[in-house]
């Protein structure tokens, strides 16, 4: 609540004396809900196959470490494991990324951020869950502040198990994800749009209505 107190409606006066009414909550976010692509679940044609190949070879990760697993990202970026050679790179903003890695447990506060980041990423987008905590809560299965299943809040393409997964496991996970994308099965964004109401209901059960726009992009 405290955080959103500056987001109220107000009138501002422009330098030329014009009075402008602004409503920050409305102006910042578009609340049109997403729509799935046409025929996304059909067998892909040649052009779509080519696109899928291109998508699979350029996985750009949103560099957001939401949990412990983020510590293994640095070894992946640096000479020993060097994931850049697979066309994988880390981007600082959701707008430039197409792969969201949930690196471990998600606390409620982080879930709020992650949902927004996921919705801001351009489609097609993929989600990879690292560690046991994203699958069934892992070590924090009885914690009051971490979610137990990631797939109730956003569609997940692959999971990498372990606590925490080693860099080698992550590279294997990337390979798996590439296969999925090439086969035309990386349709998480469309699934999200199709089952939008269900996902939103789950998110709102935990996050409440405060500061969570219907859809932010």
């Amino acid at each position: 609540m405290e955080k959103f107190k500056d987001f109220k409606k107000r009138t501002v006066i422009a330098p030329d004396g014009e009075k402008i009414e602004i409503d920050p909550m409305k102006d910042y976010y578009c609340d049109a809900i997403p729509t799935p692509r046409k025929d996304y679940d059909k067998i892909p044609g040649i052009l779509e196959n080519f696109k899928n190949w291109a998508r699979s070879e350029s996985l750009w990760i949103l560099a957001y470490g939401s949990g412990c697993g983020a510590i293994e990202m640095r070894p992946l970026m640096t000479p020993k494991h060097d994931a850049y050679r697979y066309g994988i790179q880390w981007r600082p903003t959701p707008r430039q990324a197409n792969l969201l890695m949930i690196s471990g447990y998600l606390s409620v506060k982080t879930l709020r951020i992650v949902v927004r980041a996921y919705e801001q990423m351009p489609s097609p987008k993929y989600v990879m869950g690292l560690g046991s905590c994203t699958i069934n809560g892992g070590m924090y299965w009885d914690s009051y502040n971490t979610i137990n299943r990631l797939d109730h809040f956003m569609p997940v393409d692959t999971y990498v198990t372990g606590c925490m997964p080693r860099p080698e496991a992550l590279i294997a996970g990337f390979d798996e994800l590439k296969k999925i994308i090439r086969a035309g099965k990386g349709v998480g964004a469309d699934k999200y749009a199709e089952n939008f109401a269900w996902y939103k209901e789950n998110q709102k059960k935990i996050l409440g209505d405060v500061g969570l726009p219907e859809y932010s992009w």
Partner: protein, 392 residues
């Protein structure tokens, strides 16, 4: 010491409590959020900044993005079950959690740890310190745009992690010091391989010294930035390298020697400028000290003998009523566990005292005022804050 040309502390105006007066409604100020999607290695926390131009007028830190409720979870786990989850409190250097928890339980349960286990623990803690410092050094360079430092030091850190893997089988989480001792002694041939690793890291550190401390970009930006007054050390509870860079000799290894530190020969390095450059320098010298300490410890670790004390059956292990506090010097400062037991098989309360608790929240809010936005990442890196130990 570097001084500003004009007295920038005049604006924003402060009230009598020293809190800046900023009125967002007046239109002179802008409010932005830095984080939690962050550019540096500082972790998952955010700063709510009120800015004028690119100068920060007010700062409120927001933590809680990594809160898992460890202290609550440990209350409903047996002592031995606390042990695998306690390491997750601080990811860059989990071993200090293991040591502090194990030693509080040993003290309250009245268990004598064999000497071999103590040597082994000292070695593991120093290795952990080395890898954490290397990661921090990379983050410190990256936050000023010097990505190369990170490429080198993270590579060197991987070598230490490989040695950890030899000992315990784990890369990041080792869980090698259960209450009562250690799980194993050194594997054969370890000493030679560790010495080789130390040689390689020393070589890397020489290069880092040349590239980082004689780099004009780094010098221009880091000297005079993020000044910590020595008077604040007690006020804000500053410990570790942040205090040592301000000229206050605070090092738990010297002050309250634990494990085998009273038998080792090392110095506490001090710097007096107390800016980002001085703190980086203290950390650099600490890396060299740590390498030296590991070289001293390695020949003294026994190769055979008792390394685990007699512990009661862990499933029926009840610890009588009591409370204690044990501390250790981690890379960020004083790390401690305050454990209260009530006679049952479960701890009554375990409180983790992470050094970032005061560094990241109270101190950062004070230091951020009058910084440029571009410098906040560098200052946070130089405090070596780590959010999970703020919120556990």
């Amino acid at each position: 010491m570097f001084t500003f040309n004009e007295d920038r502390s005049l604006f924003p105006e402060h009230d009598e409590k020293g809190k800046p007066i900023v009125d967002v409604e007046s239109g002179q100020f802008t409010k932005i959020w830095q984080g939690p999607i962050h550019p540096g290695m500082t972790g998952n926390m955010s700063l709510e900044l009120t800015i004028q131009g690119d100068e920060i007028m007010d700062c409120v830190t927001h933590v809680g993005y990594l809160h898992r409720g460890f202290e609550k979870l440990m209350e409903r786990r047996r002592f031995i079950q606390c042990f695998p989850i306690c390491v997750r409190v601080a990811v860059p250097e989990p071993d200090f959690n293991e040591y502090c928890l194990a030693s509080t339980i040993e003290e309250l349960g009245g268990i004598e740890v064999p000497e071999a286990a103590d040597w082994m623990r000292t070695l593991l803690l120093e290795m952990s310190r080395l890898q954490s410092y290397l990661a921090q050094m990379g983050g410190q360079g990256s936050s000023f745009g010097l990505g190369l430092i990170g490429q080198w030091t993270i590579w060197a850190r991987d070598l230490v992690l490989d040695r950890f893997e030899e000992i315990s089988g784990g890369r990041i989480y080792h869980m090698h010091m259960p209450p009562g001792g250690v799980r194993s002694l050194l594997p054969s041939g370890f000493v030679g391989r560790m010495n080789e690793t130390l040689d390689e890291i020393s070589a890397v550190m020489e290069e880092v010294e040349r590239v980082l401390f004689h780099n004009s970009v780094f010098k221009k930006r880091a000297i005079g930035l993020g000044y910590i007054d020595p008077k604040w050390v007690d006020e804000y509870g500053i410990t570790g390298p942040n205090a040592r860079a301000a000229g206050v000799a605070k090092d738990v290894r010297k002050d309250n020697p634990y494990l085998m530190y009273d038998r080792l020969d090392f110095d506490v390095h001090l710097e007096y400028d107390s800016d980002v450059f001085a703190r980086t320098k203290v950390r650099y010298k600490d890396i060299l000290t740590t390498i030296d300490l590991i070289r001293q410890i390695l020949p003294q670790v026994p190769t055979k003998g008792e390394f685990m004390a007699e512990v009661p059956n862990v499933l029926h292990w009840k610890i009588p009523y009591g409370e204690t506090y044990k501390r250790a010097e981690c890379t960020r400062g004083e790390y401690g566990y305050y454990t209260v037991t009530d006679g049952s098989g479960y701890p009554r309360r375990i409180n983790v005292r992470g050094p970032s608790y005061t560094h990241a929240v109270t101190l950062m809010e004070k230091m951020a005022i009058n910084l440029n936005i571009a410098d906040t990442a560098g200052v946070m890196s130089s405090l070596h804050t780590y959010p999970p130990e703020v919120e556990r």
